[in-house]
Assembly symmetry: C2
């Protein structure tokens, strides 16, 4: 294998694929980036077995020459060092040559690097994905859907299935749900899907989705999603992102979402968020993050929190609409803030079914999001 | 104590003074900010006994009213919570009222906070500094002098005196020196000082100097420095910054700086830094950070590093001037990078007195900086 390649293009591609290389690999090969060089271009692959990312650099882009391939071939190079050194090389061009025993020589300007390469035959084989049905989602939409749900996934490995987000597709509606048993976030969107194409119980790790989100281009270009029995493949321009599907059955959360409420409020999203944020600062001192919400005689609401060491914060908040019974309820202010931060609507609806029952928060502008928070059982 | 004060001005001042409040105070009062309110203004003080910062907010600035004082008085409020909540208060004005037992009420818009205040009598008393002689240094200069020396101070508490920078003043020349026994950085500057004013063996903690540097305004306004037996006071506008002087005698470093060299090189600062940086990436894998510099027959130098796991980096570098003997030497690339990063000269001088003797690095544009690095004793 021998080629000359533009530094910028190589750098962009290795930054992308290196997200899938293990920083502390169980075996050295998993900490590497695999190069497959043909006369058409360079395919870079990294994989930590949970996710795999592949990026293709064509030898030319229109009239612009990116790489000159003298001798095709393959090698695996340690990702961490390679990613760091490439951007610091002195010339705009880099020459890479693999010699005996995968020994790799990298030259750029007056810099000469001899790297210990690894055998490409030992690199994990990417899952074979039969091209069947797929859906297409604009990049910005997939990023929003991830941002608006994944925060509610569990971070505890005790119940691995809850560390993921559940994806369902039915009648052209894609739905994401995440829950850690204390709160839940869901988001739906209409997507381009072939006739009657549907899937259910597809659960993808929250960490993986956050990595994916960073790799989705900022130009809102489309992401094609192919779902198979145990892998999901995301196609984005010259990049392929493979994610393992989490094993297990995601709990049925539809039954815990109340449909009728005893108390209904419509509030200004930003004002509620700021008030809860101040109460949160005080509640944080007590570790429990407990904040109380009490409806007042005059139609406003009071939000408060207290700490024995520090004191007490009390907020008065105007209500745009108020229906139903008066209410005293306590909840985790951090969970409430997390939900409020991702609600993209000037006003929001909060529905309560009692001091011990789930709280439902929804934007008023559209029906695509729903958040649920379980209240705290407190005395007094 | 009762007053109304503008949020922005209060916020700026508490952000400043809170740098001196302990995040984990040995006693609660040291985690507080003391308010002293008179009809002239509000004095805020924080102190962790090593450093103390005091900031004064006048009731008005020209025609602009900052505070309205209804009742003078004092209180100490917990810094961490207060600093965070103030910037999040909903109104541009904040009302603060101290009631019985230092109980403090803070109101802003529809927010009401009751804070547990502490007794101002228990707050540490600031050192009394007799106004005597002082020096005046432009803000940008003091920041440069700190940045160009403090990185070389020790971070080990085993020899506390070396965690500081040594300050000397003589004949209007202010000199900073810092060393951790493996490398040394020094910087001198001409400052405004009264006739024959001099001091020596003033050692100030590196951490404290970094904090000070952040508080020096960006407008290059002057900093007045008053040195006493055990405290240094920095006056900057409405802010006073007190630092304890470290106990002990700083070692005499003048003797270890060679004056004559066997090999002298003049190199391009940025090109040398980039080459060492690439070699550093490889050397870092071996923890020792060893990089070798070898003078070549053709008048260039070779910089190289190697790692058994990864391979080898070799750099060829042109030399602007070369005098003396040929040389092979090894040193810590991180120490060299630290020095190169703060050298403000397009070219630099490196002088060697042998493979086992101190390396001296100096800018070629001016004589104000000097860096010393001890080489590694390596085989081969």
């Amino acid at each position: 294998m021998k080629l000359t390649i533009r530094k910028d293009q190589l750098n962009d591609a290795i930054q992308q694929v290196s997200k899938a290389s293990s920083s502390r690999p169980a075996i050295p090969i998993l900490g590497g980036i695999k190069f497959d060089v043909t006369h058409q271009g360079v395919t870079l692959t990294a994989s930590d077995t949970d996710i795999s990312i592949q990026s293709f650099i064509p030898v030319e882009n229109g009239e612009f020459v990116i790489a000159k391939v003298e001798r095709p071939g393959s090698v695996v190079l340690p990702a961490k060092f390679f990613v760091e050194i490439v951007k610091k090389l002195p010339s705009d061009e880099i020459e890479i040559e693999v010699k005996d025993h995968h020994q790799t020589s990298i030259r750029s300007g007056s810099t000469d690097i001899q790297m210990v390469g690894l055998d490409p035959e030992e690199f994990p084989v990417l899952p074979t994905i039969e091209e069947s049905e797929s859906i297409t989602v604009p990049g910005d939409l997939i990023k929003s859907m991830i941002r608006q749900t994944v925060f509610a996934a569990s971070t505890s490995e005790q119940t691995p299935i809850l560390t993921g987000a559940l994806w369902n597709l039915s009648e052209g509606q894609l739905k994401f749900v995440a829950t850690d048993r204390h709160r839940l976030a869901s988001r739906t969107a209409t997507v381009q899907a072939e006739n009657d194409y549907k899937f259910s119980n597809i659960v993808i790790s929250g960490k993986t989705l956050n990595e994916l989100s960073k790799l989705v281009a900022d130009d809102n270009s489309e992401v094609e999603i192919v779902v198979t029995a145990n892998q999901v493949l995301f196609k984005m321009g010259n990049m392929l992102f493979y994610s393992r599907i989490l094993d297990g059955t995601y709990p049925d959360t539809s039954k815990i979402i109340p449909q009728n409420f005893k108390t209904e409020l419509v509030l200004h999203t930003k004002k509620l968020m700021d008030a809860i944020d101040r109460a949160y600062l005080m509640s944080r001192e007590e570790k429990t993050n407990i904040v109380r919400l009490i409806t007042q005689e005059d139609g406003t609401i009071e939000i408060s929190s207290s700490s024995t060491e520090l004191g007490r914060v009390t907020e008065q908040l105007e209500v745009k609409e108020f229906k139903g019974e008066s209410l005293r309820i306590a909840f985790n202010s951090k969970y409430m803030l997390d939900a409020l931060k991702v609600i993209d609507s000037e006003y929001l609806f909060i529905g309560f079914t009692g001091a011990m029952s789930p709280i439902i928060i929804k934007p008023t502008d559209h029906p695509h999001s729903l958040h649920l928070i379980l209240p705290y059982r407190t005395t007094g």
